[in-house]
Symmetry: C3
Subunit: 418 residues, 3 copies
C-alpha cells in the first residue's frame, strides 16, 4: 500500500522493524484533533469505522438507541428472530482480541449472532504468523481478505485507528477493505462501552413502566414524589456522578465526553485523593473547553445544591480500582486512604433519588467491594441490565455498519407496531 | 439477588471471599436429599435445569429416546436436516468448560448445532474477568445475559447445582434466567453421560436388525439360540456388569442408579481388590435402599447363576483406571495387583452372550489396555456407536429444554412415518 | 478396526505404543508410489480424501477453478450468498490443527462458512483425551462420529494419509466414515496451498481486464508490447521461477510437481548456495522422471534465453527462509551468504515482464525482507489476492467433496450468466 512509499519511511533507522515504521507512517494522521479525523471514518454520513466515542453525535446516539430497541423487541418473537438471524448470515466477522476481555468479547459475539453474522476469533497475543515475522498490518490485511468486519481489542494504543487508516488506503488504491471496530485499544478508547452506558441511561431516563397507560404512567408517579416535581425525560439537564478510579477509568473518560454533548448536564467525579486515581488534566481541559460544569469531590458527603452529593445526583457510575495497573508507589500511597468511602452500601443507596440508576462497567471487584451484592435487588441497580444493553446496542451498531438498520426499523414498524 | 441477604452471610468471617459466601448461602439447599430438590429443577413437568441423573425417570428416559430416534432419522434426509437446523437457530448456548473434556465438549457442540443452536465457549479455568475480582456467580450471570443456555463442566463439586439455584432466585425476583446443564461437576455427577449410556442400552435391547420383517426378525433369531429362549426386549430383568475403576467412576455411579429404577435388574461390580477402586459405601447404601440385587466381584471368573459372570452378564460396562486421580499410596498398592485381569481380550469376549453389548465411557487407555483394538470389530463392541448416541440424546435433551421436542415428533410422524 | 489383527502388530515389541502400531500397520500402504494410492482416495471419479497435490489432474484443476469462479461471483450478490449459505448448513466440520497455522486455519474456516458449514476446532497439540491415554486414531474416530468432515494439520508426517486409510477401513467394515482433508502434514505435503497457487496462476494467465470488450482486451494490449508478441493464455509453455528456501519449501515442492503436469513448462529454482536451502534430490528426480526442463540458479542475474532470469520469467514465486527449522550449523553457514540477493526490490520488479505475477505463500518475513512493502502496490504483486483465492478454491474443493459443485454451477449459469 502507499504507506511505505512515504518519507517517514525512507528516514527510518535500521533499528526499526516494519511494525514500527507502519505506525510511524500514520503518526501525522494519528496526531490530528478528533474533529479532523472523524470525516475519514465515515462514508456518506454513516460510520465506516468505529474508533472513538467522539464519533457518536447526540443524533446518532438517538438513532442507534431506536434500532437497538427494535432489535430487542423483535427478539421476543419467533418471526422477529427469524428475520434478524437471516439479515447478515452471509457476513463473517473476525474478533481479533489480543488484549483479553471475556465480557466485551462475548457481548460482541452475541451481538453478531443476533444478526446471523458468523464469528471467528484470534485471541493469542502473537499468532503463529507473527512468530514467522509477519507484520501486524499483514495480519490485519489477511483478516480483511477472509472476513467482512474486524472487531479488535489491543494493548497497543491507537492500533485500531491505524488499521482504519490502512483500510482506507487500501480502499483508495482499489483493494479490498473492511470496517474496523475498536473494542478497546490501549488506555485511550473503548467507544462501544460508552455507547452501552449512554443506551442504558437513555432507557432509564425514559421512565417508562410496565403498567404505563394513557391515564397513568411511572413518569407521572415519579413527578408526584417530593423533590421530583421538575423531573424531565432524557439525558439533558441531569447530574451524573462517577466514583472510584477516575484517573485510569477509560470508560469514565469516554462516557463523560459523550455526556458533555447533552445540554445543561453536570458531572461530578468522586475519587480518593491520590494522583493516580483523580481526574487527569487532559479530561479537565476537554470538559472545560466544552463549558461543562464539573466537580471533583473525594466523598459522597460533599455538598452539591446544599445537600450531600449522594442525595443530589441523578445517576451514579461506579468503577473498580484498576489494581492490575498499579505501580510500586501507588500501592504504598494507598495505605493512607480509606477506600471503604468509595464503596456503596444499602444506607447510601437508600439516600439516592428514587429513580437514580447505579451503573458499573463490570466486572466489579469482590475484594474491593465497590458494589456489595445486597444492592443487586434494588430497583436502582442497573448494572446487570447494562450488560445486556451492551449486546443490543452493539447489534444496532453492526446493523448500522452493514446498512441494514433501516430495513430493521421498517420491518419492525410494519410487523410489530400496528 | 436475595442470596446475600441471608444470615449465612452476615455471620461470614472476613477470611471468606464472596465466592465462599455464595456457595455457603446455598448450603442448605445443596444438602437436601435429591428427591426434595428435583421439583425446583422442573417447570410444569418438564426439566428446567439438568443437574443429577436422578432427575431422569424411566418414563422420561423413554420419551427422550423417542425424540433422539426421530432426530437421528430426520438427519438422514435433507428436508429433515433443514427442519432441524432451523428449529433453534435463534438460540445461543454458552459452553462453560473450566474442567477440560474434549469428548463431552464436542458432543454438546454437535448436539447444539444439529438444532441450529449457535455455540460459544469459555474454557480457560480463570476468565480475565475473574482475575479482575469477579465472582463466579457474576460470571454466570454475565453468561445468562448474553446467552439462552449454559452448559457447564467444572472441577468444583455442586457448582452447577448452585448455579441452577441462582437462576431460580433470579427468575423469582423477575430477572433474566436461563437453563443450566451439568456436563460434569467435581466427582459427583455427570448426568448426560448416564443418559447416553441408557440410550445405548435402549437401542441395543430393542434387538432390531436391518433385515427385520413381519415374518422374521433379529429378535426371533436370537431367541432360537441356546440359553436365549427367555430373552426379552428392554432394560428390565437384565444383568449389568461394571468393570474397572468402580470407586472413582462417576459414570458407573450415575448409570447404576438409573438402572436401579428398572424392574428386576441385577448389578455386578468387578474391581481390583483395592480401597480406591472398589465400590464406595454411599453407592452400596443407595442401591440397598432401593432393594437392588448387586454383587461385588474381583474377577470375570467369579460365579453367577452357576457360571462365570463373563458368561452370565447381559451387558458389560468397561472403564479405565483414572490414574490422574491417584494418590501416592495408590500407586504403591497397585504393585500387588494384576490389572490384566480387568482388561478384555478376544477370548473373554467370545464367551459373552451373543447379544451382550460392551460399553465404555471413553476415552479408553491404550497403556492400560482395558479394551484392545482387536475387539473393535466384534458386533458386541458398542462403544463407538455409544459416542454418536451421546450426540443424538443430547440433542433430544436440548429439544426438551427448549420445548420443541413435540414439534420434532409431530414433524417426523407427519413426514417420515407414512 | 481390522488394523490391529495384522501381522505387523503381533510382531510389535512391548516398547511400542498403540499409536506406533497404528502407523506401523499402514506402513505398507504408505510406502506405495502416489499413483498406486490415488484410486483409494477417490469414489466414482470424485475425490473422497484430499491428501497429496498429486491427486489434482490438470482437468480437475480446471474444473475446481470454474467452481471457485462461480462461488466468487455468486458471493457478490445477496441472492447468490443466500443460495451458498444454505447449501451445506447441515454439515459440521472439525478443524484438527495440532500444528499451528493461523492463515491456513482461517482460510478453511471462511471457506466452510461461505457454504454454511459449521466449524469446530481442536488446536491444542494434546487434547485432554490424549492425556488420558487415548490413541490418535480413537481421537480421529471420535471426531468422525460427531462431524461430517475432518480438516487436519499435523506435525506428524503422513498422519493425514493414515487417517484416510483408517476411514476407508471403517467404510469397508460398514462403520461411519468421513472425508479427510490434509491441511499440511509434517514436511511432506500441503495440497490445498498448491491448489490456491495454481488457481492464482490460472486467473492471472487468463489476462482478462476490467475493460475487456469485443473490440479490445487486456490480452491484446499485452501482445502489442515488445517481447510479448507470442504471449498465450493458460499455464502451458511458461517459465516459473521459485526463489528462497527451496530445500524446505513444502509449497515449492507441491507447486512444482503440479506445474510439471502442464505441457512445455520450465521451472527455475533460485536459492542461496547452501545444502539446507537448495533443491533436494527427491524433487530433482521427480522432475527428471517427468522430463520437465528445470534450472538451479543462485541469483536473479543468471542467464536464461540470453538474458537475466528476472527478465525471462513469466511468474515469480517468492518464499521466506524457514529459520524456525534451522539447525546449529545452518545458522553458522549462513554467515557466508548474502541473503539480500534473494530479496526483491523495486528495481528488480521493474525489470520483470509487465504481466509476470509475484506470488508468496505468506506470511512474509519483515526481518528477512524477501518482499518489501513498497512492492505491494505494483500490479504484479499478486500475493494478497492469492490469499483470498485460497478461500474461494478451498470452498470449491469442499463443494466437490460434498458433491454440490454441479448444483452451484447450474444455479450460477441459470441465475447469473444470462
Amino acid at each position: 500500500m502507499t504507506a511505505i512509499m512515504s518519507p517517514a519511511n525512507s528516514e527510518s533507522t535500521p533499528a526499526q522493524t516494519q511494525d514500527d515504521r507502519d505506525l510511524l507512517f500514520y503518526e501525522g494522521r494519528l496526531n490530528r484533533p478528533t474533529k479532523a479525523k472523524t470525516p475519514e471514518l465515515e462514508r456518506s454520513g454513516r460510520l465506516r469505522h468505529v474508533i472513538f466515542s467522539g464519533q457518536f453525535s447526540v443524533d446518532l446516539l438517538e438513532e442507534l438507541a431506536g434500532v437497538a430497541d427494535a432489535i430487542r423487541k423483535l427478539s421476543k418473537h419467533r418471526s422477529g428472530q427469524d428475520f434478524l438471524i437471516n439479515l447478515l448470515h452471509h457476513k463473517r466477522a473476525m474478533l481479533y482480541f489480543t488484549q483479553p476481555s471475556t465480557r466485551t468479547f462475548l457481548s460482541f459475539m452475541a451481538a453478531c449472532q443476533i444478526l446471523g453474522i458468523t464469528c471467528n476469533e484470534v485471541r493469542d497475543p502473537q499468532t503463529s504468523s507473527e512468530t514467522k515475522g509477519e507484520t501486524r498490518f499483514d495480519s490485519i490485511r489477511m483478516f480483511s481478505s477472509y472476513f467482512d468486519l474486524i472487531i479488535m481489542r489491543s494493548p497497543i494504543a491507537r492500533l485500531a485507528e491505524s488499521c482504519a487508516y490502512l483500510m482506507n488506503d487500501l480502499e483508495r488504491s482499489g483493494n479490498r477493505s473492511v470496517p474496523i471496530v475498536n473494542a478497546g485499544s490501549g488506555a485511550d478508547q473503548h467507544p462501544t462501552q460508552a455507547l452501552l452506558d449512554i443506551y442504558t441511561l437513555q432507557r432509564t431516563f425514559n421512565f417508562s413502566g410496565p403498567n404505563d397507560s394513557e391515564h397513568n404512567s411511572r413518569f407521572d408517579d415519579l413527578r408526584r414524589l417530593p423533590g421530583c416535581e421538575n423531573l424531565s425525560k432524557g439525558l439533558a439537564g441531569k447530574t451524573y456522578a462517577f466514583c472510584g478510579d477516575i484517573g485510569r477509568g477509560r470508560t469514565v473518560r469516554s462516557l463523560a465526553l459523550l455526556l458533555s454533548n447533552y445540554p445543561d448536564v453536570r458531572l461530578v467525579f468522586i475519587a480518593p485523593n491520590h494522583p493516580t486515581l483523580v481526574m487527569r488534566d487532559d479530561l479537565r481541559q476537554a470538559l472545560a473547553a466544552k463549558n461543562v460544569r464539573f466537580y471533583e469531590f473525594d466523598s459522597f458527603e460533599q455538598q452539591l445544591d446544599g445537600r450531600p452529593v449522594i442525595e443530589a445526583l441523578d445517576a451514579l457510575y461506579m468503577t473498580r480500582i484498576q489494581r492490575e495497573h498499579d505501580t510500586g508507589d501507588d500501592a504504598e500511597r494507598y495505605a493512607a486512604l480509606d477506600f471503604s468511602r468509595y464503596c456503596l452500601d444499602m444506607d447510601l443507596v437508600s439516600r439516592m433519588k428514587p429513580y437514580a440508576p447505579i451503573l458499573h462497567p463490570f466486572p466489579r471487584d469482590q475484594h474491593f467491594g465497590e458494589i456489595p451484592q445486597e444492592i443487586d435487588n434494588d430497583p436502582r441497580a442497573m448494572y446487570f441490565r447494562q450488560a445486556r444493553n451492551g449486546m443490543w446496542i452493539r447489534s444496532a451498531l453492526l446493523a448500522h455498519l452493514f446498512d441494514v438498520d433501516g430495513q430493521i426499523l421498517r420491518y419492525f414498524h410494519r410487523e410489530f407496531s400496528a
